[in-house]
Symmetry: C2
DNA sequence: CGGTATAGCTTGTTCAACAATCCAACAAGT
DNA sequence: ACTTGTTGGATTGTTGAACAAGCTATACCG
């Protein structure tokens, strides 16, 4: 699952300190789950009174939880109107892919890219396995893990967080498309090809291929969006 | 000033919609200002009762404001202990520079880098002007604007936000160094050189120079940190 | 001196109230 | 019919007070 630990930056000192999550954090986790799994649809309103009842927390705590997801850009607040599940525009999708192109291509073409290979291979296999049993939602999950593995090779926790947040947002767009299969299937083999390129140390070629890859993915996603 | 509009993602439709900031947002803005200007020192505790009195807001609203800055990583919360101004470790600095190297080098070497030239030039001039009058704090501000101009050339609002947040965090480290001049002076001319390289369309050379640049900046910052 | 209870303070969470704002429905005027 | 007030109900924004839970330091005891 894609989850973003926006919360308590590791306490200054202790690497071994058990901390139970705050209620607000639990609220955010629960809502994020609902959003990413599609149970809370894009554009849906999150009414305070209704959610306090459903989650069994107070209004103030719920609002603290909202703030977490607003910072993650999964929710948006409109003053005095309410909180809504973010609805991605075509411009948002283009913006996200612009970031992906810059970051992922740079990461995959960098010398350290090979460090991500083990996880990339796992994700590729997971994707094919999920496709074999027709679970296109999970294919999407495996695809996210594949691309996460690319940027994770840089070894920066901040970059990880950024990418996780970006993909969580992108999933909002995936949900708007009618045909998950058409969206993900073409990239199963291309992910495998990308692994091969990285294995062979063809840095520039991998970067170029990924750039084309992302362009096509963006166009597919965009064209499937305008249809509604 | 570096400010991150984590808040209300532009309302779904309207490009022309006036919105007053919520109190929680104002609280976050005020605290961010205090933190970045150094009045709230790194590591300092933000006591709820004290701040509610100082800001004239309720505890609940203050806590909503906290959440915003926690998401921006300027504050950290330790359960039942309190909220503190983030204190950057050496590992944090290295992490930040790893991201900067990837992003900025890719951006400056990309075809669209020239789009950022006007703002880059302004920032360079601002920096030299500030240096001439010995205002090293403002030299730091101009330097941030310079690097922001590089990534802004990509044209992604998400990338802008990410970089702004990154630089806000980095400023926490700047504050820990005793000698702002030593930290910033060497890069006044190198920024100028970078402008020239981009003007000439020497993409690869600009990327390589920026990589060296960031390595040195990182080392300087790190060595000035260990001293305390 | 080291360990442990105790007390005080701060944070975590809830609840209830009121103010500000939005929204839909209705009334009135052109 | 179409716009323009007006009004009332519902929702969000913010507050204050209360209590529970968890830290921290002091004082106490072996």
């Amino acid at each position: 699952m894609v989850d973003v630990d926006t919360q308590p930056g590791h306490g200054p000192s202790s690497p071994l300190r058990l901390r139970r999550a705050s209620t607000a954090q639990l609220v955010a986790d629960a809502l994020r789950e609902q959003i990413l799994s599609g149970q809370l649809r894009s554009g849906a309103q999150c009414q305070e009174l209704q959610l306090t009842a459903a989650l069994g927390v107070s209004r103030n705590t719920l609002r603290e939880g909202f703030q977490i997801l607003i910072a993650e850009r999964l929710l948006v607040r409109e003053a005095h109107r309410g909180v809504f599940v973010r609805r991605l525009s075509a411009a948002d999708v283009r913006d996200i892919y612009a970031v992906r192109r810059l970051l992922e291509c740079a990461a995959v073409a960098s010398p350290g890219a090979a460090r991500g290979l083990p996880e990339m291979r796992v994700a590729v296999d997971d994707g094919h396995a999920a496709a074999a049993r027709g679970d296109w939602y999970e294919v999407g999950g495996a695809d996210v893990r594949f691309h996460l593995a690319i940027t994770a090779s840089v070894g920066s926790s901040r970059l990880d967080r950024t990418m996780r947040a970006l993909f969580a947002e992108l999933r909002l767009a995936f949900q708007l498309t009618p045909d998950a299969r058409a969206l993900h299937e073409p990239f199963l083999d291309r992910n495998r090809d990308l692994v091969t390129l990285v294995e062979n140390g063809s840095a520039d070629e991998a970067g170029a291929e990924l750039a084309r890859y992302l362009d096509e993915a963006e166009n597919m996603l965009l064209s499937s969006l305008v249809r509604r």
